[in-house]
């Protein structure tokens, strides 16, 4: 199923010569030397680790490089790691038949990231969702409001330190029933 499971080696130029489509990242890697490319699990799962300050530029460059379909944007709360949050953007290229997953770390103390709605308008609802559920603020978003939770909700439910809550159940004749 997997040729190279869980490889952590960055995709250098020499590693990208195993097919005609694998060098689609070469121009991106050249223009963004600080971005670390990685291939996980299957060949169709390509991951780029992008610094937060180059995020919008990288997404725009990826769009020019053929990854012009916006697929997905979501947040992940890696509670104890630094940076705490990660925003994962999925792009797709119909031309190269390839996906690109962009992972950006976002600080836990000041969760702010630039919005990519200027590049992909489809990110609008997804960024609102991440803001709503994780409290990550997207700078430059045209309408950053809660989308799934009620407007007056307090807290951001998908954060790991947000409890799922519980309803106390009272059992008959239980000593703890009081």
């Amino acid at each position: 199923m997997t040729d190279s499971p869980m490889t952590d080696s960055p995709m250098t130029d020499s590693a990208m010569t195993d097919g005609p489509v694998t060098d689609v990242f070469a121009p991106l890697a050249k223009a963004f030397p600080e971005v670390e490319f990685e291939q996980v699990l299957e060949s169709q799962q390509d991951v780029a680790h992008v610094p937060a300050d180059r995020y919008v530029d990288f997404v725009a460059a990826a769009r020019t490089a053929g990854f012009d379909v916006f697929v997905d944007l979501c947040g992940v709360d890696y509670l104890r790691s630094n940076p705490r949050y990660e925003v994962v953007t999925n792009l797709l290229s119909h031309e190269h038949v390839r996906r690109l997953r962009i992972r950006v770390g976002v600080s836990g103390t000041e969760p702010v990231l630039s919005s990519i709605t200027s590049v992909f308008p489809g990110a609008n609802f997804y960024e609102r969702e991440v803001y709503d559920l994780f409290g990550i603020v997207f700078d430059g978003h045209p309408d950053l409001t809660r989308i799934l939770m009620p407007d007056d909700w307090e807290g951001h439910p998908l954060r790991k330190n947000y409890s799922v809550g519980s309803v106390p159940v009272r059992f008959k004749e239980s000593p703890k029933a009081q």
Partner: protein
């Protein structure tokens, strides 16, 4: 932000491919403006504090009529959310209409905030979240074995695809191989599910455009498939049948006859519907050139599936990234030209036929063998083995009490659901429960694209456009 609960900042324009004009404004400016707005609302109100946050729909505050900040409202930079019609309407003679969330034509609890100029829609704002049940949070508390019971409830019209996407994502982390029979059963069930989902679409699209008998016809034909699902999985919906490691059980005895009956009855029905729709002048007039979306807009907004194909994008995940051995079967991908409701109708009708073709091929070529992986760390042992083997008993106990561990890592798996690209992003930290599960659901994007399809069209076209987008609100809100 959270201290201004009911104030929606920013302009309300429908998303377009152009960059927003105010994208360059710095964060400090934005923060200042928000603070200013907040002060304005609180200072301008005469109501006691309890009234301000009394309803669960949001606070109700009335802006003083002579407030200096009123121009902000007219520019559309501040829009009050609930109940209060802002000054935009009076100045431009726009009428604000709330459609939903209990409107029958919104296919669930979708609410549309419409700004009408006479009969023409000028701005649309979809408001969602009425069906949000926090399924992504729930998924973090369920083991991978229980996970498919959760995800199958998201898109309740294509539960098989939800389960399949989840299973594929988990299996890619586990690195298990599914036997060929298991893969064929998965293809059989998902393609039947595509037919049943498209039949519901067909029923509701007809009803929304006035062909009320279409609802009965579509649901009647879907019933054949649901009865088959009930026979196979035990449930009509929310099957929890496709699980990480394979499928829950083998197909029941006599399933071939049931499939043959479906293959005989459903195409007959479909040809009847085509007869009903194709030459119908009302249906043609109400769908042709309505709700148009271009290929570029589809790509930028993440619109996928039949809507993208109707606009001329030749893209199907079953062809591009084949999953579950679907590349073994011969089928065509219908592609439209104009991106309007009529083309979506044609594309979906053709997809029903192609999916039935795949079902026929599965029926003819299904291999024998195991229907789930033999990896005992993932698959529970057969009931008989539990009586004989201590090890089997331990495995069974461990699997059903604590589940199986999945290697740390992250994976994204996508399938072509009846609505489009349905992806599951699973992050594992090496334990029995996912650290994070994110469902990339196609309806979410399609609801987001509704303003693009609707703006500057007529009010009467709203229902046609919503029906053609085929949103499932359980899928949108999760």
């Amino acid at each position: 932000m959270s201290d201004t609960p009911n104030v929606v900042t920013g302009d309300l324009e429908a998303p377009t491919t152009e960059a927003p004009a105010e994208a360059e404004s710095t964060s400090s400016e934005t923060a200042d403006r928000k603070r200013e707005v907040h002060d304005m609302w609180v200072a301008g109100t005469e109501e006691p504090a309890w009234m301000r946050s009394y309803t669960d729909e949001g606070a109700q505050e009335i802006l003083a009529a002579e407030d200096e900040s009123a121009p902000e409202l007219t520019r559309g930079t501040v829009v009050e959310d609930d109940f209060i019609f802002d000054d935009v309407a009076d100045d431009d003679e726009l009428q604000i209409l709330n459609m939903g969330p209990q409107h029958p034509s919104t296919h669930g609890v979708l609410r549309l905030h419409l700004e009408l100029d006479g009969e023409t829609i000028r701005r649309v704002k979809p408001i969602i979240g009425y069906l949000h049940t926090g399924m992504e949070k729930t998924a973090e508390t369920l083991t991978y074995m229980q996970g498919s019971t959760n995800v199958t409830r998201m898109d309740y019209l294509s539960p098989m695809h939800m389960e399949l996407a989840f299973s594929l994502a988990v299996e890619s982390l586990l690195g298990v191989e599914i036997p060929e029979r298991g893969q064929a059963i998965r293809v059989l069930l998902t393609e039947l599910n595509r037919v049943s989902s498209h039949l519901v679409w067909c029923a509701t699209q007809g009803t929304d455009l006035g062909a009320v008998s279409m609802l009965i016809f579509g649901l009647r034909d879907r019933e054949y498939i649901l009865q088959f699902f009930e026979k196979v999985t035990g449930l009509r919906m929310n099957h929890n049948f496709i699980r990480p490691g394979g499928v829950a059980a083998d197909l029941p005895d006599g399933w071939e006859e049931d499939i043959e009956a479906i293959l005989q009855k459903v195409p007959q029905g479909v040809s009847e519907y085509e007869e009903l729709f194709n030459g119908n002048p009302i249906f043609r007039d109400r769908t042709m050139g309505v709700g148009v979306i271009t290929p570029e807009e589809c790509k930028a907004l993440g619109v996928s599936g039949p809507i993208a194909r109707a606009s001329g994008i030749n893209w199907d995940l079953r062809k591009a990234f084949p999953y579950s051995g679907i590349d073994k079967y011969d089928f065509d991908v219908p592609v439209g030209k104009h991106g309007d409701v009529w083309d979506r109708y044609l594309v979906r009708m053709e997809e029903i036929k192609q999916s039935l073709g795949i079902v026929k091929q599965v029926l003819e070529t299904i291999p024998g063998g195991d229907y789930r992986t033999t990896d005992r760390k993932v698959t529970p042992p057969p009931r008989k083995r539990i009586d004989e083997s201590m090890e089997a008993l331990i495995h069974h106990f461990k699997l059903f009490t604590s589940g199986f561990k999945v290697p740390a890592g992250e994976s994204y798996a996508a399938v072509e659901s009846p609505r489009g690209e349905l992806g599951m992003y699973v992050v594992s930290d090496g334990r029995e429960k996912p650290w994070r599960l994110h469902a990339r659901t196609p309806s979410f994007n399609h609801v987001q694209a509704l303003p693009t399809m609707m703006t500057d069209s007529l009010v009467a076209d709203i229902v046609a456009t919503i029906a053609s987008a085929d949103p499932v609100l359980g899928d949108v809100d999760r």
